[in-house]
Amino acid sequence: METRITGRVWKYGDDVNTDVIFPGKYTYSISDPKEMAQHALEDLDPSFTEQVRPGDIIVAGKNWGCGSSREQAVTCLKEAGVGAIVARSFARIYFRNCINQALPIVVCDAVDGVESGEEITIDFAEGTVTTPRGVYTFPPPAPEVMEILEAGGLIPYVRKKLGIE
């Protein structure tokens, strides 16, 4: 896991649910992550899939990822190139899904300091998000969570734990 990343921001509001991140009608008909990425956020922001670049960062308000447990709502963004998600808060299953797929997430109020298209820098070692209009701090993840992130997600973590190589 990179300790410091800089990326261009896609800014969204509160309570963005998994149905608009990845529509339910595709949940059992699309299994290829690349195809999932083509539908990321299509019911919220059709410009996203056309313009997203590797390393871009999503910055949002509260309760990002509420609704269904569908993990594709994380997979589609990761596959689209999203480098991290920063939100005031996350829905709990979405939060777990990000950890399990090793997509870095940050809980802080950076949404107050940045607009879409601007750049921010996340420093995971220092626990800071630097925006054009202020620096926001966040607590480090729990050690148990850090181990999964550092292993590259839950599958490599479990493989390691079970001694499978």
Binding site: P23, Y28, S68, I93, R96, I155, V158, R159, I164
Partner: protein
């Protein structure tokens, strides 16, 4: 110092004397629920690289989301699951037609007080109505539970919601939970364990309690629960084939917040498009023209829900131009509704009867909407695009309100029909 329900169950399952909110524990779930997403989970399971499940006895697999298969892709998905079930020796497999997982589990004795249940479905919270600790998880971690038999969980803070008074005529648990979600917001219980208590909850049927815990997910809860009582024990008798130890919160437990409601003057509630916390009294939206009405889902597809609808529609006919879809939550519910004449009443009134399952709730089949259309539904989500077109509108309400609206062709207060 006393402990909440969540603290007591998780301490017990983690083999610890006590736990505190924020602590991470590793636990062995009693049951792991997966559904049509088991095909995707089985792929993750194979990526982990183990041959056999750690304990196939905890796995329960129910095909309910798109049943029967709507096309070749879904059919292939189901075939992969049936092959996986046979390969791994999973005995608790329920193929199409048995019902929605959150109804089938308790009916078949897989839910009991004090059980720890995780499921790859956000509405796994439903099982808390029986005094179980039940939480939704993702697909990858469901595969990891299959491989290892364990999972990490963060001990949640707890909210206690105390409901006083008696629900008025044609005002239901659905109206109550919509009112609560409207009040607390879509993240009002985020990461929290929610305990529902008070005389109105004690008065409620098991089906009614399941509506509360089912929709606890819509305010972000990790789990919802109702303390088991005589009703719970009677419902489970003959279904759960082993002893169980009930877990009750201590009277001096510490809660993040204790919230009280009085339902004596509650009126029917409706969640307007496109969020579940966009709630208003039915009177505010009465007159909104509808195209479709849906009675069913893991929230409101139980016998008392169909009975409530039949009570309004018996001997009458739905409005011209309205499509009324009825999906019993399970085979058991369907059979009981047939025996009591409820199915005949509803079909005679113009309803289209669909097989037990999730139906159009997640927008995959059996009643998706065209742009500009309006559905009033007993489901738990009204997000944009959920039931087909992103330019369609979903209103959420009780079975009584949905039936009354189907009757008139517009959103209607069920106390006025």
């Amino acid at each position: 110092m006393g402990h909440t329900f969540a603290e007591k169950v998780l301490a017990c399952k983690a083999g610890l004397e006590e736990v505190v909110p924020g602590q991470i524990v590793v636990v062995h779930p009693d049951k792991l629920l997966t559904h049509d997403n088991t095909a995707a989970i089985s792929k993750k399971f194979r990526q982990i690289g183990v041959e056999r499940m750690a304990d196939p006895g905890i796995s329960i697999i129910v095909l309910d989301h798109v049943v029967p298969a709507a096309n070749e892709t879904y059919a292939t998905n189901h075939r992969i699951i049936r092959e996986f079930v046979a390969e791994q020796g999973v005995e608790a497999f329920y193929d199409i037609g048995e019902g929605i997982c959150h109804q089938v589990l308790p009916e078949k004795g897989h839910t009991w007080p004090g059980a720890l249940i995780v499921g790859s479905d956000s509405h796994t919270t439903t099982h808390g109505a029986f005094g179980a600790f039940a939480a939704g998880i993702g697909r990858t971690e469901a595969a990891a539970v299959m491989a290892t038999g364990e999972i990490w969980l963060r001990v949640p803070e707890s909210l206690r919601i105390v409901i006083r008074g008696r629900l008025p005529e044609r005002v239901t648990p659905k109206d109550l939970i919509l009112h609560i979600i409207g009040d607390l917001g879509a993240d009002g219980a985020n990461y929290c364990s929610v305990e529902f208590a008070g005389e109105a909850v004690q008065e409620m049927s098991i089906a009614g309690r399941m509506v509360l815990t089912n929709m606890a997910a819509e305010m972000g809860a990790k789990n919802g629960m109702v303390e088991p009582d005589e009703k719970t024990r009677a419902w489970l008798a003959g279904r759960v084939g082993h002893d169980y130890e009930e877990v009750h919160p201590d009277p001096d437990a510490t809660y993040r917040q204790v919230i009280e409601y009085d339902v004596s003057d509650l009126v029917p509630q409706v969640a307007k498009p496109h969020t579940v916390d966009n709630v208003a009294p039915v009177t505010e939206v009465a007159g909104t023209v509808i195209n479709q009405a849906l009675i069913g889902t893991c929230t409101n597809g139980r016998l008392e829900d169909l009975e409530a609808a039949a009570g309004i529609l018996r001997g009458r006919h739905i409005a011209p131009g309205v499509r009324l879809l009825v999906l019993p939550a399970s085979r058991e519910v369907l059979l009981a509704a047939v025996e009591r004449g409820i199915v005949a009443d509803l079909v005679a009134a113009g309803a289209t009867l669909l097989n037990p399952g999730c139906g159009p709730c997640l927008g995959a089949h059996q009643g998706c909407m065209a742009p500009g259309e309006v559905t009033i539904s007993t489901a738990n989500r009204n997000f944009k695009g959920r039931m087909g077109s992103k330019e369609a509108f979903i209103y959420l309400a009780s079975p009584a309100t949905v039936a009354a609206s189907a009757l008139t062709g517009m959103i209607t207060d069920p106390r006025e029909v």
